[in-house]
Symmetry: C2
Subunit: 227 residues, 2 copies
C-alpha cells in the first residue's frame, strides 16, 4: 500500500483525523471498522454537491433531466474511473480473498471507496471543504456535460415523441415469464396504437424487458413517415 | 394565501431573495416558474443532513439500517406531516384545477413544496443555515427514531433469519402474470427449502408480490419450532 500522504496531496485535502481516511479505505473484507457507513454519507454528499452544480449549469433543464444528468455523473462506472485516476486501489485495505482475486481493481470496490473517502472528508472538514474536493474531482466531467436528451431511456423517449404529436401513451404488458428462479426471462409487449406498431422486448426484469420493447418501438416509428 | 412572512418566521429563516421562496411554493399547475428544480435540490440537501444525523445517532447501525431509517424520515408521508404542521398548504400557489380539487391538501404536493423550500433556503443561505432549518423541523422525529429492525422489509427479514441459522437463501420465482396492461397482477412463489415451506404472494409488481410471499413465509416459519 502506498502512503496515505500521497493520496491526500492529490486531493489537496489534509485530514485532521487520519483514522477517518483509513476507515474510508478499508473494505469490509478486511474486517474491523470498514467503509460502508462512510460510503452512505459520501453518497449523499456527492448527490448534493453535483445537484447544485447541475442546477446552476443547466438553468433550463427540468427535474427529470437534472436527475438523469446527476445519475450519469455519480454512477458506479463514473466513480470507478475517477477512483482509477487517483490510483485509489493502491491505498485500499482488503481481505486476503479480495486481494488474491484483484479486488483493488473491482469497479464496485473502487467506487464505494471513493464515496467513503468523500464522506470522511465531509466529517473531517465540513461541507465547504468537501464540496471543493468534489468539484476538483469532477471539473472535467462538469465541463464536458452531455446533452440531457442523450441520457433519456427508450421508454421516456418513446413517450415524449408520442406526447409531442398529441398521441396516446404506449401500453406495456408482460407476455411471458420463462426460466427458473433467479434466471427468469421476461417478455414484454409494447403497443403503440397510433402507429399500429407492436414490438417485443426481453430482459431479466420486467423493467429491462419494457425498455427493450420501447427501443424496438422507437426503431419502428422512426422508419414511418412523419405525420 | 397567507403572507410569506408568517412562514419564514416559523422556520426562523429570513430569505435574502424572496423570489426563491415564492418559486418553492409554486406548483407546476400554476404555470410560470415552478418548484420542481428546487425540489430536486432540496431532496438532496435533506438526504445529506439526515444522513449525517443518523451516522452520529446510530454509531452501530450498518449501511442498510441507516438507509431504511433515512427513508422513513424523508418519505412522502413524513414530509407531508411536517408540511402540515407548518400549514404549508396555506402558502401554495396552485393552478385553478388543483385549487378546486383541494390540491393544497394533497400529500405529494405538500411534500414536494417542503423539499423545494429547503432547496431554496440552501441556495439562499448556504449549507449551514439550511441544515439548521432541517434539524429544527426534524427535532422530534430524530428524538423518537424507531428501532432500525422495525423498518426491515419482509424479504430482508426472511433472509436475515435464515442467514443467522446458516441456512440457504429463499428462492423467488414469478408463477403467474394476469390482467391487462397497467393492471397486471403478479403471483410469486417463495421457496424456503430448509423448512420445506412454499408460500405465494400477489401484487401489482414483481417486487410487491415477492414481499408478500416473503411475509407469508415469515409467518409460516415463526410457527415452526426453533431449530
Amino acid at each position: 500500500m502506498k502512503p496515505l500522504a500521497q493520496l491526500t496531496a492529490r486531493l489537496a485535502y489534509e485530514f485532521s483525523d487520519i483514522d477517518l481516511a483509513r476507515a474510508a479505505l478499508t473494505h469490509r473484507s478486511a474486517g474491523g471498522k470498514n467503509n460502508e457507513r462512510l460510503e452512505f454519507l459520501g453518497d449523499a454528499l456527492l448527490d448534493l454537491v453535483i445537484s447544485e452544480q447541475l442546477y446552476h449549469l443547466r438553468p433550463q433543464a427540468n427535474e427529470g433531466d437534472l436527475s438523469r444528468l446527476r445519475a450519469s455523473l455519480v454512477r458506479r462506472d463514473a466513480l470507478a474511473r475517477l477512483a482509477g485516476e487517483l490510483d485509489l486501489g493502491d491505498y485500499l485495505a482488503l481481505g486476503p480473498g479480495e486481494l488474491r482475486s484483484g479486488g483493488y481493481r473491482r469497479k464496485s470496490i473502487l467506487a464505494d471507496a471513493l464515496e467513503a473517502l468523500l464522506g470522511a472528508i465531509y466529517l473531517d472538514g465540513g461541507y465547504t471543504r468537501a464540496s471543493e474536493v468534489v468539484l476538483a474531482l469532477y471539473r472535467e466531467s462538469l465541463e464536458k456535460l452531455p446533452d440531457a436528451a442523450e441520457l433519456r431511456d427508450p421508454k421516456t423517449l418513446l413517450q415524449e415523441r408520442l406526447q409531442a404529436r398529441g398521441l396516446d401513451r404506449p401500453e406495456y404488458r408482460v407476455d411471458q415469464v420463462a426460466g427458473e428462479a433467479h434466471q427468469q426471462r421476461f417478455t414484454v409487449v409494447c403497443q403503440v396504437s397510433a402507429f399500429d406498431v407492436e414490438t417485443r422486448g426481453e430482459g431479466s426484469s420486467r423493467r429491462r424487458a419494457e425498455q427493450a420493447a420501447a427501443r424496438a418501438a422507437l426503431d419502428e416509428i422512426s422508419d414511418e413517415p412523419a405525420a
